[in-house]
């Protein structure tokens, strides 16, 4: 098994990520005052997903780790997505 090298993030990159997250939070709040109908929820979900991805990549080090971990996370999210889609075969098609 290969020796694992630890990646140490710089203060600069941490602060940039922090500001991006704050910015996206502000955007989440702001967007609620714009009337997009059902797309309000979609927009909130989209921004939250972007934030979660940034946290996973930078704070949880997925970007700097071995590819296998990225693969594992993607696989888990894919299973989660498929489970939700199949559940909606019930809810969308009920008489």
């Amino acid at each position: 098994m290969s020796e694992h090298k630890n990646h140490i993030s710089t203060y600069k990159s941490q602060i940039v990520v922090l500001f991006v997250l704050i910015l996206l939070t502000v955007l989440t709040v702001t967007i609620t005052s714009v009337h997009l109908g059902p797309f309000n929820t979609a927009a909130a979900m989209l921004i939250a997903s972007v934030k979660a991805t940034i946290v996973l990549l930078y704070f949880m080090h997925l970007k700097f780790d071995e590819k296998i971990y990225r693969f594992m996370v993607i696989l888990v999210l894919a299973i989660y997505a498929v489970v939700i889609i199949i559940t909606f075969f019930d809810y969308l098609y009920r008489p």
Binding site: V76, I79, V82, I86, F89, L92, Y93
Partner: protein, 538 residues
């Protein structure tokens, strides 16, 4: 492969004197083998408790009308029987006991990745069991919902549902942490030279299982908390009057509980593979196919939960989708059975007790699997849903499959775990009795189901009397045989230790070390330079 070549023997994990003595040397030990035995003893205790409850249920059903208990007691008994057998015996199953014992040894490691977390998992397991037990004996009586806690009844009954679901919630954490521990151990602690495709197939099956434990269990944890919230805070997740949906409960419950069937059966299939390969004196047929079928079962198993809900009011489209996906899961299961058969073909089969247990597993599991197709098909399921047919199918898979594999594994690895051998003749007679008793108990239930006898009733119509009487007699044969099997193993434990590092001619790593193993399993971590089931050169 270089194993332990030294001739001197280190004190075994059973003899090793650490910081603590007496019971503390067990309940504070972080050795994976001692923790495995803690699980093993706890599970067998809960199994026997569940067995006694099952016997009382069969006794009540010996004849029409009330025999030894009324409807409320019967409802509570089948609920607690289910809770005990499912959550305390068969979900931890082979993974918690034999997985804990064997994973580090079979991959050439000294322990699991997180030994303290491993012990903590056992404490959570016991804590969950105690909470369920308190729930049974306190408040307004034991839950009467069935082990599935279906809404809306679980929200309305006055019995002690909250404590029971909370107990199951705690047990779920034990399962998640064990799964996490196993995944990290398998990824990070394999001996040099042991690539993923040099791992024994039992390890592959536990790897698939661990992923299910990690990913599916949180779903049921949240669902149980939603039941608690509905009961205590009156939120209405599952109450249509408040905008909720009772069918949502069934979705959430089965998103976990169907994969949970694979948590039970996958390690069982892994252990059966090891046994068949060892006693066929051949290398395994289709190593990669068996390994990949474990992962395929784990993956497809996530997507078939709706077949438990064909009559729940789900949409027609969903029923068709789930029926199709259910048929898909039969493919990897069949791959395993065909590969087991092909492994035995032209093998020099050694007819030792573990092999007979494995054969009983295949026979019974096949009946369970094939009757599953009847339930997986929407049109036939509608006819037999919620009848005794489902109870029979379920017991053929869970008890006849995972339960018998549990005892097969116990007979296979017993000499390794304790350095002693049981009486093989009694072990064989015990199996014959169990096989006859099992089929006499559960086979009539298929016919009763077809005839229309519903499940979960303490009473029935007179036309069902003969088959129910036969089933009750079967339960006595089955229970007597199980006692014979367990007493035989307990007696062997008191016997004198014998030299039996490899009594079966096994080829995986556990058979290269002494029996019982030393505290750290290997004096030197072995270097793997051959395939897992390669025959040893004489």
């Amino acid at each position: 492969m270089t194993g332990n070549s030294s001739t001197h023997r280190l004190p075994s994990y059973l003899e090793y004197q650490g910081k603590y003595t007496g019971i503390r040397a067990w309940i504070l030990s972080t050795d994976h083998k001692r923790i495995a035995l803690l699980y093993l003893y706890s599970q067998i205790f809960f199994f026997l408790a569940g067995l006694v409850m099952g016997l009382f249920m069969k006794l009540e059903l010996i004849a029409p009308g009330q025999q030894i208990m009324g409807p409320q007691a019967y409802n509570a008994l089948f609920t607690v029987h289910g809770l005990t057998m499912i959550f305390l015996f068969i979900i931890p199953g082979l993974a918690a006991s034999f997985g804990n014992f064997m994973i580090p040894i079979m991959i050439g490691a000294k322990d699991v990745a997180f030994p303290k977390l491993n012990l903590f998992s056992w404490y959570l397991f016991i804590a969950g069991a105690v909470i369920i037990l308190v729930g049974i004996f306190s408040g307004d009586g034991p839950p009467d919902t069935g082990w599935t806690f279906y809404a809306p009844y679980s929200l309305k009954t006055n019995t002690n549902v909250v404590l029971s679901v909370f107990g199951a919630f705690v047990l779920g954490f034990s399962s998640i942490l064990t799964g996490l521990n196993f995944i990290v151990t398998i990824h990070r602690m394999r001996a040099p030279g042991m690539g993923f495709f040099r791992m024994p197939l039992f390890i592959w099956s536990l790897y698939g299982t661990a992923w299910i434990q990690l990913l599916a269990t949180p779903v049921v944890g949240i669902t149980f908390l939603m039941v608690v919230a509905d009961r205590m805070l009156d939120i209405g997740f599952f109450d249509p009057a408040k905008g909720g949906d009772p069918v949502l409960y069934q979705h959430l419950f089965w998103i976990y509980s169907h994969p949970a069937v694979y948590i039970m059966i996958l390690p069982a299939m892994g252990a059966i593979t090891e046994i068949i390969v060892t006693f066929s004196r051949r290398t395994v047929f289709g190593y990669k196919a068996i390994a990949m079928s474990s992962l395929a079962i784990a993956f497809v198993g996530y997507l078939v939960w709706g077949h438990h809900m064909f009559t729940s009011g789900m949409s027609e489209t969903a029923r068709l989708v789930f029926s199709f996906l259910t048929f898909l899961v039969a493919i990897p299961s069949a791959i395993k059975v065909f590969n087991w058969t092909a492994t035995m073909y032209k093998g020099s089969i050694s007819l030792e007790p573990p092999f007979w247990w494995a054969m009983a597993f295949i026979f019974i599991f096949m009946i369970g699997g094939l009757t599953g197709l009847i339930l997986g098909s929407v049109s036939t399921d509608v006819h037999v849903h919620d009848t005794m047919f489902v109870v029979a199918h379920f017991h053929y898979i869970v008890f006849g499959g995972a339960g018998i594999a549990f005892f097969a594994a116990l007979h296979y690895w017993y000499p390794k775990m304790f350095g002693k051998m049981y009486n093989k003749k009694i072990a064989n007679w015990g199996l014959i009795g169990l096989f006859v008793g099992f089929n006499t108990t559960y086979l009539p239930m298929f016919f009763l189901g077809f005839m229309g006898m519903p499940r979960r009733y303490y009473d029935y119509l007179p036309q069902f009397a003969d088959l129910n009487l036969l089933s009750t007699v079967g339960s006595w044969i089955m229970a007597s045989s199980l006692i014979l099997v367990i007493v035989n193993l307990l007696r062997a434990k008191k016997g004198t230790p014998e030299e039996m590092d490899d009594p079966w001619g096994g080829r995986t790593l556990e058979w290269t070390i002494e029996s019982p193993p030393s505290l750290e399993n290997f004096e030197e971590i072995p270097v793997i330079d051959r395939e897992p089931y390669e025959l040893k050169s004489k």
